[in-house]
Subunit: 411 residues, 2 copies
């Protein structure tokens, strides 16, 4: 079975914006054994979209259309699909009521134009949108499937995962698929690949895919077999061989993010944590607290962007700052200890450094980051040098701080 | 004049890879007054590519194809284009010699398969590739233009800039383009559109595009005229009419982000700011400090995830917490004031609330966010209710807090 994806939106035809929904959808479809054979980006133009859809339906079993379901004149997907399939649009009061209720919950009045979103193509199944106002639509026409999904990624993903996936599974031939996701911190992609390629290239099933974000590598294994037993066995076999090579650099094997992994370790130990951030300016705490329920172990912390704040809020001694400067191991250690003492948390993590692009020095060039970790009667700090722009240096610093805390908790 | 871009390569149909060449090409084409009306990603499949090209030629003046010019069996672009246009492929010894010489310069021997790259479609102009082995091709057919470019971005860009751009300029009518970007905080897309659509729909030139992120709307105007004077005049005219409608909801007209705009206001006033974050857990400070040079005005702050921390670190009184709970205007105000007093910053911004997905109450359901802003002798707080998952609620809270600070600085 094969599919085409059409992303609708004139903004996706500008130099500034790119369709990324199709990457996520492709991953989902591939997992179900569906191949994506063409991707199209179309503007907010009824006639052109209609031409693309007609051509796609002539070629492929399934067409997924993202975007163009909003309330404005620019949003042409419903109209264009109806015209292409030769079907009518029907106003549905029940859907209008749902949209209106959503506005009420936000203490707002529904604008008149939002009524447009309550029009449904004749014969379509409605896909509820619990994250936005635009419902999706599920249509079958002459043995082909057409699915209309909203453009905002969070709405699109929730709708596909929650509603489309099961409907697709029911249509597709049964094939057992088993996957394993190993996540690795603190190694560049090329090092990971060099280490494990000699093993995974021996297998065509499972298929191995490596996804890389700065200092966060995901190794995806996917086996497709006639039986679940065989798929499970193959994934476990290759997974175990990779585990032997990477050891404790693997921080999760269940898809959990590094911040969720650290959170689970803290919760399991009944421990609490606080932060003292300079160079990351809140990015470390933001990640720790992005996990639901993180108030069970994250108590709080300090953002100390100046020497004065490091002294006043964390009690770092003026002499230490004068002797070593703020970008030093002793100061990072004192920051982590100071945060611990002032919050009463079991663990304290600090980040200081030079995120750039300016204000580097000979001793601490741009990209220098010192990370401290303190626990009862114990504190240590490590110096790193990260390359890249300000955003990348800060992201690498937060990632590395989380990984140091993870290793401390495991030790 | 309009154009379509076809990116060729099966790897661009996987979940891991995306075509970014088209962004750069779109920028180049727009600058010449050429509009990109469709983008297609096609796999390494002769028949499919041929269908896409034939359809594109029927619709548009110009088709740019990137990729698929390599030496392997997988590289099908030359073949597919020749078949679609009904032309022959001719082996060109002079091009083969150039490729062979390139290998020699790298002290390597040309593989036999590289001879495939010396085939040229009948009637095509050859575009030299000084960064790789695959020459590009420039074809005219029945008034339409077809340009074949290599896939590697550095090769594609050098070939377009060095050879295609001048050829295109010579074909195109002279056109001047002027743009304006207005950014708006604190309004949903539908409200912005309802307000300004009656005005911008009166203009087909400039073209208006609206991009929406949570509580952050970008309005792009682009005018294309025979003279720069006329294009500037039209953009200014429509821009001014939109400004009248949106007033101070527009936070920037030069592409600056909200955090950069707030930073510029603080710097212009010689003012400093601190934060006290509960529900956002660092997300507000992370945005403020994502701007290079933010240490000029951001001094630091407090992350107070528990009542205890709000008391110990910020001096919020136990009685106030007991009477109103942590998710209340009086506590948000006290947090902002406490942070100001402890850091000495001129402005204090606080965020408290329930980001979810759990721990909502009747008085403060999930999504309730209170934002406080304090300055010398003055403090205020506002209550909001945001819908969405934890990440979205936190992002909306940080965005709204930045906008409240901006309005305070403008007041």
């Amino acid at each position: 079975m094969n599919a085409e994806i059409i992303a609708v939106g004139s903004e996706l035809l500008t130099p500034q914006r790119i369709d990324t929904n199709s990457l996520w959808l492709t991953d989902q479809l591939n997992e179900l054994g569906v191949e994506v054979v063409t991707k199209i980006v179309a503007g907010d133009d009824r006639a052109r979209l209609s031409v693309h859809l007609a051509a796609a339906l002539a070629r492929s079993d399934m067409v997924l259309i993202t975007g163009g379901l909003g309330p404005t004149e620019d949003d042409v997907t419903r109209d264009a699909v109806a015209v292409t399939l030769g079907r009518k649009l029907e106003f549905r009061q029940d859907i209008c009521d749902i949209i209106e209720a959503r506005f009420k919950r936000m203490s707002r009045t529904m604008a008149e134009i939002n009524r447009r979103q309550a029009f449904v193509i004749e014969g379509a199944g409605v896909l509820d949108n619990d994250r936005g106002t635009a419902p999706g639509l599920w249509l079958e026409s002459e043995g082909r499937l057409v699915v209309l999904l909203p453009g905002p990624p969070n709405e699109m993903k929730a709708m596909f995962s929650g509603q489309c996936r099961a409907k697709l599974v029911a249509r597709l031939p049964a094939l057992a698929i088993r996957t394993l996701q190993l996540r690795v911190a603190g190694m560049p992609e090329s090092d990971v690949d060099q280490l494990i390629a000699p093993v995974y290239t021996q297998y065509t099933n499972p298929v191995t895919t490596i996804l890389a974000a700065p200092s966060d590598i995901q190794i995806h294994l996917r086996a497709r077999c006639e039986t679940a037993y065989e798929a499970s066995r193959l994934v476990a076999e290759l997974g175990d061989r990779i585990r032997v090579l990477l050891g404790d650099r693997i921080y999760s094997d269940n898809g959990a993010s590094l911040e969720a992994t650290v959170g689970a370790l803290l919760r399991a130990r009944g421990a609490t944590v606080c932060v003292a951030e300079s160079a990351t300016g809140g990015a470390l705490a933001e990640r720790l607290t992005s996990v639901a329920g993180s108030s069970d172990y994250f108590v709080g912390g300090f953002l100390t962007y100046t020497d004065r704040m490091k002294m006043d809020l964390l009690g770092v001694s003026p002499a230490l700052l004068a002797e070593h400067t703020a970008v030093s191991e002793p100061v990072a250690q004192a920051m982590a200890e100071g945060a611990r003492a002032r919050t009463g948390a079991g663990y304290g993590v600090s980040v200081t450094g030079v995120a750039g692009p300016e204000r580097g020095t000979d001793d601490a060039p741009v990209g220098t980051i010192i990370i401290g970790v303190a626990s009862a009667g114990n504190a240590a700090a490590r110096r790193f040098r990260f390359l890249g722009d300000r955003g990348r240096v800060r992201a690498l610093a937060a990632q590395t701080a989380l990984d140091m805390l993870r290793r401390k908790l495991l030790a």
